[in-house]
Symmetry: C2
Subunit: 212 residues, 2 copies
């Protein structure tokens, strides 16, 4: 996996979620988001079995390769290997980053969800290539268990590590510039793109404020 332009590839990172996609498939949402300029896609689906995840993953791999985007799999290291994704994104309920790095070597990127400075430093130390940090703002995508970081909390994380950080959670067009200003390499979005009537337009609008 190419690491040198990773930061640029994290600018607009769309997490697909078929339950927040107005009935559209992972494939449709991903393709439309990429046509609108998204730079990365993460496949996240806890309802599919392994075979189905591999099938969807292979299709997303084809689409992301064709449209020159980063492709990341949530949680499932086996699926990431099977579909030749660029990387895997790990949270606290997934494989530990250190173990994952030992198993995979440098063959896949590893993203890690860090909710604060200590977790961020631990993620970097354990070998993560990038962090997803949040929720930056209130979000309706996940049941809220922690208080939002705010842009100050996000800025603290960005200053604490040398790897790129994605802001995640409750980020719409109007919030995106503040996330970048806090030092993030990009924004990770779910419903702002997947639930948009036109995912292409939603991504174009994001990019206008992300690349002003």
């Amino acid at each position: 996996m190419e690491r040198k332009n990773l930061k640029e590839k994290l600018l607009l990172y769309v997490i697909t979620d078929p339950h927040l996609s107005l009935g559209r498939s992972h494939q449709e949402v991903a393709e439309r988001a990429l046509r609108g300029g998204a730079t990365a896609v993460q496949l996240r689906d806890k309802t599919l079995n392994t075979r189905e995840l591999i099938e969807v993953g292979k299709e997303l791999r084809t689409i992301t390769r064709r449209l020159n985007a980063l492709f990341i799999i949530n949680d499932r290291v086996d699926v990431a290997m099977a579909v030749e994704a660029d990387g895997v994104h790990l949270g606290k309920e997934d494989m530990p980053v250190k173990l994952c790095r030992r198993l995979l070597g440098q063959s896949l990127l590893i993203g890690f969800s860090a909710k604060g400075v200590e977790e961020a430093r631990a993620g970097e130390r354990n070998g993560a290539d990038y962090l997803g940090s949040g929720p930056v703002f209130q979000t309706t995508t996940k049941v809220q268990k922690v208080l939002p970081l705010g842009t100050d909390g996000l800025a603290d994380i960005c200053s604490a590590v040398n790897i790129p950080v994605l802001g995640v959670g409750g980020i719409g067009i109007s919030e995106a510039p503040r996330v970048i200003h806090a030092g993030a390499a990009g924004v990770a979005v779910v419903s702002a793109v997947t639930s948009a009537p036109c995912p292409e337009d939603a991504c174009r609008d994001f990019l206008q404020v992300l690349r002003p």
Copy 2:
């Protein structure tokens, strides 16, 4: 992974299922089954997240290593790698056998669920090390979608392939000898051991008829 004594290690293969274990943990059932002479343990749990599966898997790896038993993970190739299991067991909803073999090389055993002769031959051709075939008899563990193979159907599968075959599904003490007689290398059991008041005794009873 040692393949030369695989057949012997499949003689009494216990699949742990905490929902059929009278409230006992995977670890307790596995340890007690192995003390009673079980030769293999498969960890199967669709309710745990990856982190939990790895934690339980590491404990079962320690127990199975100490008691010299085969240790197999259901479905999750990533978890099997993470806990250094001996192998992974794949069904139709899991990673395809051929893809798994390509990713893993010979580092892990691959078991495959084959419900008939054609599937069995395909499994062998694709690189499976052993097959689990059934249901041989009626079973209450899984919602029945197919008619039981019976011992004749199992015997057909055993004759059709050169890799060892486990009989699975509805096998109690009284059925076990007929399963071996049909040509199976061993029996795979769930509730007959996990739901037994004393898993040690249940395994001892099985072994008395399996090694007459």
